[in-house]
Symmetry: C2
Subunit: 419 residues, 2 copies
Amino acid sequence: MSTTHDQVVGVVRAARDAAKSVARATTDQKNAALRAMADAIASRKGAILKANAQDVAEAKGAGLSNSLVDRLTLNDSRVAEMVRSVRAVIDLPDPVGEVMRTIERPNGLRIQKVRVPLGVLGIIYESRPNVTSECASLGLKSGNAVVLRGGSESFRSNEAIRDAIQEALAKTGLPAAAVGLIPVRDRVGVDVMLKLNDLIDVIIPRGGEALIRKISEESRIPVIKHAKGVCHVFVDRSADPDMAEAIVLNAKCQRPGTCNALETLLVHKEIAPVFLPRIVHALKNAGVEIRGDEQTRAVDSAVKPATEEDWSTEYLDLILSVKVVPEIGAAIEHISRYGSAHSDAIVTRDDGNAERFLAQVDSAAVYVNASTRFTDGFQFGLGAEVGISTERLHARGPMGLEELTTYKYVVHGAGQVRE
Amino acid sequence: MSTTHDQVVGVVRAARDAAKSVARATTDQKNAALRAMADAIASRKGAILKANAQDVAEAKGAGLSNSLVDRLTLNDSRVAEMVRSVRAVIDLPDPVGEVMRTIERPNGLRIQKVRVPLGVLGIIYESRPNVTSECASLGLKSGNAVVLRGGSESFRSNEAIRDAIQEALAKTGLPAAAVGLIPVRDRVGVDVMLKLNDLIDVIIPRGGEALIRKISEESRIPVIKHAKGVCHVFVDRSADPDMAEAIVLNAKCQRPGTCNALETLLVHKEIAPVFLPRIVHALKNAGVEIRGDEQTRAVDSAVKPATEEDWSTEYLDLILSVKVVPEIGAAIEHISRYGSAHSDAIVTRDDGNAERFLAQVDSAAVYVNASTRFTDGFQFGLGAEVGISTERLHARGPMGLEELTTYKYVVHGAGQVRE
């Protein structure tokens, strides 16, 4: 226990020390390190795949689910994708040093609000080993040191990726410790990490509800949660049924395991007689299990009854809850009560209702006539992201390079004193 | 206990419900409410002063310090100042609804990043009753509901001010509950408040170290701390001695009880033989107690020895610690080790050293050739503030109307789905 504690503190303290060098690194230095990181991951592919094969074998032996094993598994094309992701960060603009605002005061003071790195990022995630290189590259480009804690099932894969990254950092003159990995597999590593509020500036957790809850409750460090997305589409009375069907199918089926996928469909009662049979049919054909209220169940005997719990459930699967609502106010009220303020959409031809929905639904992203699946840094044109924040403070929605920074006020004077 | 709990939850839940109306209020509505608030405070001056006199009598009876009693005491001119402060918020620009960024995507999606209120602000402070009306007016203008918790010694004064504010809100059609006051005097009120993470979006504590520490440790709600300012002035080798003296005296003496006042003076060893005797003399004349290292003590027998603890102490009084450093790097190192990352200044005629100091001192505000006392929303030209944040996340430095908001992404489509 004491050894575990010391090991974790050692990695985190080294990252803290390295943070100063990374914060001061020029854009060229950071880009050179990113290029070297991409190269090192490519050239160490053999070692990474070997470590991953051990993780996968152990996961299968432990009886982990197929979907978990799939998320864990690396192969040639997934490593190539990791390399591409790191290279893509080179082209993103460096946020550090940006003058966000300049204020010239009557007394001659020149006050500049300048973007600076946050410091040391603690990122906690599960399963997919490619998150390791993604978070390392985004942290580095935004001038931060990072301490990573992946899932215990991907421990060896993450170590192999970390080794490649640290080799690249050292080769390009940046401290290897700027990208650290919590060096113990069991949960104690996280427990120790969450208490180090003098060494880590922010904890960014990505993962299931249990993980996020544990971290929120135990962390002494500010947390920017990437929690669940219970996303809605409301099909208004005036919706174009073709458009509504396309949006619902896309939001539910295009990639159901993501946080911006549709979980609950709300249908205006006046369009329900036409639209419900049609969408239930289309969803069934797409292999979606439907859990509906009474009106939805009347459409098709295959529709299961939705329980109270369904309305706040993130299925992350081909399951959809469906409810008929009397009017737009009831839809907004339902979203406010059961939703998770992630991504919600209205399909309508009524501009007034569109604007009302956009104004009154208080979610990170609100849509009119588009799929909720667009809530994503790349899709928004913001570049890569460490995830989708479900916080209200600091960063909301896609959290990219800018959101990994803070600012300071830089003031130039000529002897001014306060009256 | 159960009654206290229910009373606190009642006020907070009412604020949560009121938050929607305040978030949707137009700028005109909010300004009308602010005007009515100012009028109501002015017209209820008698009741406010009477309640305050009771608080003051009790505080004196309980043997509170003179400075605390002074902070607590209201009179005609202080009430007039409260009224002026509320009116000043009317002229500030409304941050809500500002389109911070518009992104037009190749697929035709129009994505707008729009400023929205944070929701319900929990503000915890001590002593000065004018904070009640200041925070209420800033919270309202930024579209938030607020739940206020002042010092127990100013409980009756705060109630009287709250009554005036609620009367004004009701008169102008906004829910009175949008400005709530925790209705119990003892500490249990805070304990209950800090657990209501479903009802309060952020806790903003202003006060002494013990209060801030307690809140940071116990809050289940994100906290934006307004903690201590251990501020430095470094007088570089090339400093203009006249300018350096004026800045040091101003930063220390102009209002020593504030968080942006100077607490530690660092002097380059090459200018020390000339500058130290001069500044020690000037500080003594200004009534400042000096606690110095060996070199400073050699200048004047009145200089007391500084202990290790002095270097990280916020005196908030006419006391100053003084140290001679061998070069600028040592000054930066000292500030990084002992400072609180609030406001730090260099006095120099060397542009290279100025830029090095500004870049490497990682504080909310860094100055070259100006007094640290300028770290203030009004002095920065940002308008009124709820305080000076010592956080790195969300808001750093002066926290005004913009910092009391978050944003959401508003997306207009024409049927777009993700490929």
